[in-house]
């Protein structure tokens, strides 16, 4: 079970969090033309990297904040955790 440092609450066990996928995906802006391809990429296509991955987790049984976690998908090492509005 991972040990994730919530930037708001501190170190907590993984079972307090829920996973939210790739944190680098940007939603296309509202009311803007988006090509079929770009939209499909946004909705469906995700990379599955080996190694460093910046991902979203929600501290669902805690402060309910969405946070960013930089994690190694191979070793589970967590390099850093960030608040929703922080960049790596």
């Amino acid at each position: 079970m991972l040990h994730i440092k919530c930037p708001h609450c501190g170190l907590r066990s993984q079972n307090e969090f829920s996973y939210g996928g790739d944190a680098t995906v940007k939603r296309p802006e509202l009311n803007k033309e988006v090509s079929d391809k770009d939209w499909d990429n946004f909705v469906y296509l995700r990379k599955s990297p080996v190694g460093k991955h910046l991902e979203l987790w929600q501290h669902i049984s805690g402060c309910r904040q969405w946070i960013k976690v930089e994690r190694d998908t191979l070793t589970h090492e967590i390099f850093k955790t960030l608040k929703a509005n922080e960049e790596v």
């Binding site: 079970m1 991972l2 939210g20 009311n31 988006v34 939209w39 979203l56 929600q58 929703a84 509005n85």
Partner: protein
């Protein structure tokens, strides 16, 4: 029966307390402090089971967790416990155990015929033998194999025992209380670190309990006792016996199973049987010791052949002789320790040493005691079927290839020692890259991935002096870093015997013309010949050899077999062991009971049960409940002998004719506040929200980004910047997360706060033509006329002193209102409604009637919004705004979503107006078409229409729009039904929606 093999004195057992127990129906005696194994051996019982494949007789091989054979079926306090290791089970009064894997009994086992059919059961025989004819697999082979497989039989009864889970944090977790565990724990505790010391046996001390050493001026055992009692008195130390750390997971999370009551005749009240500890440790010290390695020779699985360390343990801890004519077969000095113990107790052992000129301090001691030592000698084969009665021994040539001078000598046990294997399971589980140590022919931990350190013999260090020195040092270092305190302890002096090098010989060659089975894996019956065969057939990777032969795959995880198997593969392949590599170790290190894993999360405790504030009123009024997610909701209220069908029809009809009341507390509610609240709603819902006036509710649908409907519900504008959103019961949590996601990550510029208020409000829906009359009497001061409170209107009121929110919304399609009050007042509200409603024939209705009402109205719900449908499919396209953007809108223009024959919700009525259509039925054009019959769609929800008194269903079918009026068929292969149906509008009752506005 007297204990023929118990010594008059010695051991750590309590000789003042005699204990009676039964094995295979026969009564025996032992002492407090015995294991089932030691007590049986004391009584001369060596035949305890039959082997897995060949059903060969099985005795005892080890004295603890290393035991591959002695697995028994136990009965304790009328509860069955399968696959208990007799070497770990402590004796208690009244213990009953029996052998497994034998029929009719262990003495005469019919399955033993496999032993003589052995040539038909080589490695991989499953794959070769049972392949043809194919149809035989299910009918013939599999049932027989299933019956023959496995050891003990699990109980089919509910386990009455209690198990619990515990979460713990510590600075240092130390696994094993031998010299390295004690020393490192002591040093760390002195520095103020929070230490957990876990020992899987009942006694602390590990090898110190059986070794002849001096620490300071005390014996090893005395020193261990002193350290333990000091540790026990320290508040920063938790020390646990009967506790096995069996799994090492990510981020230094380890799991330990504590056997609290297994050694007692029955579990005490309020005490669990076992407890599972989830321990998050800053540092882990693995001090799990080592396990003696067997030597491989003919018939080396015969009862009476066992590890020399086990024989020593039975002698020194239990005062039990494993035999009175022992043969010790060794390739190192450890065997001599056992021989000397025998000699000291008046028994004359013979030592066969594979080495040519063995010479060391301990060998000299053995010689001085006049022990018969035969250098360059090996056991060729054990003789005897159910127990060793003699052994063929011989002289081995210097190149270890030839055996000469074979003779048969009498013996009743053979104690083998093939040197030591460090127990690296936990280190390997943690991700440690282990390395092969040539000196000890075994793998030891190397580069750590997590915060762990392996000490003592688990790390390949076999001298006590070195072990204590490194362990005190490591314990001090690791704890100092955490506590920033140092309270150095002096390292005691050690007196121990010096060992000479072991012989790298481990497998006795077969003499000419002999074909003895030489076993590597004793639990899974894997012999040398099986590995040879696997390699001949082309298996090369050790992982493949393992799976093909099942070497090391038994419940003992190959503790005694892995390394010998690797040696054999590397010998045949002419590779060195490190090139062959070892297989992966996975948790659990030793079997854990399912009960402990499940803990308290059984039955009603497996998930929370949520009850509405009106729950007990429902219960008192004969509600029959149904699980709705974690909520309990009344399904119907039983009157007299009514069944579900009759009751729900009565309740639904009463709503259509008079008035009904339904508990809608379970609906998800989200409180939304902030100047940008309207903008948020406008983006998450498909319809327009910016112009909703204060005091008005609106129905909305929200999508996922892929265009699939996520949820629906009404949201009400309470005041300028304050909205009250409702969600379905099932999606409440997801919708909240969804809103938080967009507010926190995508549109952080929106100034809005959302919070769940589901539990703050109790809700009652009052529905039916007479609902306005009831409402008027509940709120006599309010104008609740059609003009005062129109459809989708909202007002606040005072319900006999209680603040209430009144929404004119309808799920049933009738004139209806929902009243919310603070949860504490829920029951008060409900009773008032029932009391005042009496004059209007009010009846409570449950979820079944609720479904009936919404289905015949064509209101889509969870069974249509099933995570696979878009708004059009649900006839919700009228709610899609063309003017604004919203979540998921871009996806709705996908080709598949705008196909002209896109699926759509329709109504389905059986032509005979009698036969109910099972939910999940297929809709097809031709009932007799060849399979697979192309289906148009499926029936999503069915009810008995109370309006028309005939069955009615909703279905989502291809080109639904153009199917209205068609005669089709509903097929239910599960219920074996074919029903001719007519497709009608999904809005079966009141298609214009006049009632809700009346």
């Amino acid at each position: 029966m007297s204990e023929k093999f118990r010594l008059d004195k010695g051991g750590l057992i309590n000789r003042n307390k005699k204990i009676s127990f039964k094995f295979n129906g026969k009564k025996y005696f032992g002492y407090e402090g015995d294991t089932l194994a030691s007590a049986l051996i004391a009584n001369g019982v060596h035949l305890v089971g039959r082997s897995f494949k060949y059903h060969r007789p099985r005795g005892f091989f080890g004295a603890g967790v290393d035991e591959p054979y002695a697995i028994v079926q136990m009965t304790r306090n009328n509860e069955v416990d399968p696959n208990v290791r007799a070497t770990e089970q402590e004796l208690f009064e009244g213990l009953e155990a029996k052998s497994v894997n034998c029929w009719p009994n262990v003495d005469f086992d019919i399955g033993a015929i496999n032993n003589f059919l052995g040539k038909f059961f080589p490695a991989g025989f499953y794959y070769k033998t049972f392949m043809w004819p194919k149809s035989f697999w299910y009918k013939v082979y599999e049932p027989i194999i299933r019956k023959a497989a496995g050891f003990g039989a699990a109980s089919i009864k509910h386990d009455k025992e209690k198990y619990e889970h515990k979460y713990e944090y510590c600075d240092l977790l130390i696994t094993g209380s031998g010299p390295s565990g004690l020393a490192s724990a002591y040093a760390a505790a002195q520095n103020g670190a929070k230490v957990i010391l876990a020992e899987d046996k009942s006694r602390f001390g590990g090898s110190l309990l059986t070794s002849e050493v001096t620490i300071g001026n005390q014996s090893g055992q005395e020193w261990a006792e002193k350290i333990i009692s000091e540790l026990k008195s320290m508040p920063n130390v938790v020390i646990k016996n009967r506790s096995q750390v069996f799994g090492y997971y990510d981020h230094n999370m380890l799991v330990m199973s504590e056997r609290i009551s297994d050694h007692l005749p029955k579990t005490e009240k309020y005490i669990p049987k076992q407890r599972l500890w989830y321990i998050r440790a800053k540092e882990v010290i693995i001090s799990s010791g080592s396990i003696e390695r067997p030597l491989v020779f003919g018939n080396n699985d015969t009862p009476g052949v066992m590890l020399s360390s086990a024989a020593k343990e039975y002698l020194k801890i239990y005062g039990v002789l494993v035999g009175k004519k022992p043969l010790v077969f060794t390739n190192n000095d450890s065997g001599y320790e056992t021989a000397i113990e025998f000699k000291k107790n008046g028994i004359d052992p013979i030592v066969l040493d594979t080495r040519k000129d063995p010479n060391s301090e301990i060998i000299k001691e053995a010689k001085d005691l006049n022990i018969n030592i035969k250098p360059s000698h090996v056991v060729v084969a054990a003789k005897g079927y159910k127990k060793v009665n003699s052994a063929d021994i011989g002289k081995i040539s210097d190149d270890k290839k030839n055996i000469s001078n074979i003779e048969n000598i009498k013996c009743d046990c053979i104690c083998v020692s093939g040197f030591w294997t460090p127990t690296i399971h936990l280190a390997s589980q943690s991700g440690n890259k282990t390395k092969f140590n040539e000196e000890i022919d075994a793998f030891i931990p190397s580069k750590s991935k997590q915060k762990e350190t392996t000490l003592g013999s688990a790390n390949g260090i076999f001298t006590l002096e070195e072990t204590l020195k490194t362990s005190f040092k490591k314990g001090n270092e690791l704890s100092k870093q955490i506590t920033n305190k140092e309270n150095k302890v002096s390292i005691p002096s050690v007196v121990e015997k010096k060992y000479s090098n072991h012989d790298k010989f481990w497998c006795v060659p077969l003499p000419e013309g002999k074909n003895y089975k030489r076993f590597l894996d004793f639990q899974n019956d894997v012999a040398v010949s099986d590995i040879q065969l696997a390699l001949r057939e082309g298996y090369r990777s050790i992982e493949h050899v393992k799976r093909y032969t099942t070497l090391g795959m038994a419940t003992d995880q190959g503790r005694t077999s892995n390394l010998n198997g690797l040696q054999l593969v590397s010998d045949i392949e002419n590779k060195v062991v490190p090139q062959v590599g070892h297989t992966t170790f996975r948790p659990p290190y030793s079997p854990v009971s399912i009960g402990a894993i499940v803990g308290r999360e059984i039955g009603k405790h497996s998930k929370p049960t949520r009850k509405s504030p009106m729950h007990y009123w429902h219960k008192k009024n004969n509600a029959v409940f149904v699980d709705a997610g974690v909520w309990l909701r009344p399904r119907y209220y039983k009157q007299g002998n009514e069944n579900l069908f009759e009751a729900s029809k009565r309740e639904a009809r009463n709503v259509r004719q008079n008035v009904g009341v339904c508990d809608v507390t379970t609906l998800g509610k989200i409180d939304i506040k902030g100047p940008d609240a309207a903008e948020l709603l406008n983006r998450v819902y498909t319809n327009a929200w910016l112009k909703l006036p204060v005091g008005k509710a609106r129905y909305g649908v929200m999508l996922r980004e892929d265009g699939i409907v996520m949820d629906d519900g009404t949201t009400t504008r309470i005041s300028e910047n304050h909205y009250h959103m409702t969600t379905t019961t099932a999606q409440a949590a997801n919708v909240l997360s969804h809103l938080e996601y967009y507010l926190q990550l995508v549109w952080p510029e929106l100034n809005v706060n959302v919070v769940s208020s589901t539990e703050q409000w109790a809700g009652a829906a009052i529905a039916g033509p007479k609902s306005r009359d009831v409402l008027q009497k509940l709120f006599p001061d309010l104008d609740v006329s059609n003009e005062g409170l129109p459809f989708m209107g909202y007002m606040e009121g005072n319900l006999f002193g209680v603040n209430a929110k009144i929404f004119r919304i309808s799920f049933s399609g009738e004139l209806a209102y929902e009243i919310n009050v603070e949860s504490d007042n829920g029951n008060f509200m409900w009773e008032k409604i029932m009391d005042i409603g009496k004059d209007f024939n009010i009846q409570p209705y449950g979820t079944e009637a609720l479904s009936t009402l919404r289905i015949e109205m064509g209101h889509v719900a969870g069974s249509e919004l099933d995570g696979r449908t878009i708004p059009y499919d649900n006839s919700l396209e009228g709610l899609i705004s063309k003017k604004k953007d919203f979540i998921g809108k871009r996806s709705l223009s996908k080709l598949a979503y705008v196909a002209p024959d896109r699926q759509k919700v329709v109504g389905v009525v059986p032509l005979d107006k009698k036969t109910s259509i099972p939910e999940g039925s297929y809709i097809v054009k031709d009932a007799k078409a060849k399979l697979p019959n192309p289906k148009l769609g499926h029936v999503s929800a069915s009810c008995w229409s109370v309006e028309y008194d005939n069955p009615f269903s909703l279905a989502i079918i291809k080109d639904g729009k153009n199917m209205i009026g068609q005669k089709l068929f509903a097929l239910s292969p599960l219920k074996n039904k074919t029903i001719p149906v007519e497709i009608v509008s999904s809005h079966y009752v009141d298609p214009k929606g006049e009632r809700v506005r009346s």
